[in-house]
Amino acid sequence: MIELLLCAGIAGYAALRVVLERNTMRKLPFLNVVSFAVAGAIVLIVPHPLAVLAAAAYFVGSTLESNAIASTWAGGGKKDE
């Protein structure tokens, strides 16, 4: 139970930091921390082999999302203009 509480605590703290941070680029590492912690919490909540697969899917998805946000923010899509 203590590891689940730890995951939830880290996720809540990082979520607060994400919202309170002013700089857009500094928000992204904390978003990654949130997704690490939530992926861990999913596995700890459901003791089932399929939970690992679901957590992996969530992890891949959220990493792709934050990468896409960072790439667009840095002007990655401007090479056609």
Binding site: L4, V19, A41, H48, A54, G61, S66, T72
Partner: protein
């Protein structure tokens, strides 16, 4: 699931929602939306819908990427 853990994830979800509404830059909005999505996932896991969780977790970034396509004209960086 523990009551305390559930309360933390519920608070995270509300923080994400309020952050999405309050921030002005579209990129900040999308990042806060990511926090909201992260807060929803443990509730899906708690009910035991692991297949729904996997599908939702893969569809949510697709939605974000679609929105990113609409806003790539106003590039911020160098």
């Amino acid at each position: 699931m523990n009551e305390l853990v559930m309360a933390v994830f519920g608070a995270m979800l509300l923080i994400g929602a309020i952050g999405t509404v309050r921030s002005h830059d579209p990129f900040d909005k999308l990042i806060s939306l990511g926090v909201l999505v992260a807060g929803v996932m443990p509730f899906l896991a708690d009910r035991g819908y692991l297949d729904v969780l996997a599908a939702t977790a893969l569809i949510a970034p697709l939605s974000t990427i679609f929105i990113l396509m609409a806003m790539r004209r106003e590039g911020h960086g160098p």
